[in-house]
Point group: C2
Chain length 184, copies 2
DNA sequence: GCATCTTGTCAACAGTTGTTGACTTTCATC
DNA sequence: GATGAAAGTCAACAACTGTTGACAAGATGC
């Protein structure tokens, strides 16, 4: 009982925590190893280097996310819960935050965009049907997340209040109700 | 005629170009000096260091932006033109892109958020009136910019087309038409 | 002509980054 | 108990970061 996790597992946990919260470029391998109480050399040994460790935190991020086929109302609920809200541990930021934090990185930016940006968009497309509305819906999701979490704007971030949820819903449903007039 | 610009001016121009396009952390002083064809030491001499040079590219970014008091329709036009579209040189990214690119930086992130995020929000608030709608409007602006420029999502980025503008308008006006029901 | 200030150049600095190879320890298997 | 693979430790590496001080050239003022 109370199995002590292996060095590899502790490294992975610390990496997901730190990389997601502060960004790939802003975390050094020494800090990472210190947080995991592990020798630095093990990062290269187990994951091939800093970049490999970061990739390991990315690959299974979507594993437990399942979007049910449902109406617009329920979809808004699910999307907000899954992508915008922070995970259960209360420290690691949401998937969207991580994406936005690392999307511009010189080393891993392209990978993050391809792996999660496109993947998330495809999921929403399959769920919503029309690609246009899916893209707009995702843009709304991104905008609110950026405004609240990245820029910390006043007037957006009132998590848990009914007002915040009403704002969210209004914009989401505007995105979902949009139909363009060109060929389909 | 054809005045050759001083080293200080070339440095400032190269800094605005490179910092805004690739982010503060992803540009080294050596690359900066090389692009401006200037000795590295002059960065510290003239601007007090890399950070000071970056700040110099920030301070006057809002100098030429003036939002007129107008209706919702014209406001959408102005906002899109001023904040989302790229400047005239066609290379330097928009103000929003620069904000989003550097908002998470460990060194200058807080400054960028405070100087431009808050400032832009205050401008929109003064213009729109209701802080709630201004925040939502700004979130919509951010979301579209992120989706198009940062994540390069398909389905959003069709600049110059009527369809793209229609999407923009629909979401913007949804943001502007929102009213919350709590106390004001 | 001399002094002074600006403008620019050069080489070196100390600090941090990610990575690696040699080493010891641990532990299971024969 | 001997063998050998796995797990972990240590010190050093080369590459890069931003910054600085000493120095030279040119313009300006008296």
């Amino acid at each position: 009982m109370a199995e002590i996790p292996s060095a590899r597992d502790r490294l992975l946990a610390a990496a997901r925590q730190l990389f997601w919260a502060r960004g790939y470029a802003n975390v050094s391998v020494r800090e990472l190893a210190g947080a995991a109480e592990v020798d630095i050399a093990l990062i290269s040994r187990y994951f091939g280097g800093k970049r490999g460790l970061f990739q390991a935190t990315l690959t299974d991020a979507f594993a437990d996310i399942e979007l049910p086929a449902c109406g617009a109302e329920a979809l808004v609920d699910h999307a907000v819960r899954l992508f915008v809200e922070a995970p259960r541990d209360g420290v690691t930021p949401s998937l969207l935050q991580m994406m936005l934090m690392n999307a511009h990185d010189a080393d891993v930016g392209a990978e993050v965009r391809a792996l999660h940006g496109d993947r998330l968009q495809k999921r929403l497309e399959r769920l919503i049907g029309a690609p246009d509305r899916a893209a707009l819906f995702m843009a709304a999701l991104l905008g609110l997340s950026v405004a609240e979490k990245s820029l910390r704007l006043a007037g957006i971030a009132r998590p848990g209040t009914a007002e915040y949820e009403a704002q969210l819903r209004h914009m989401m449903q505007a995105a979902l109700s949009y139909r363009h007039d060109s060929r389909d």
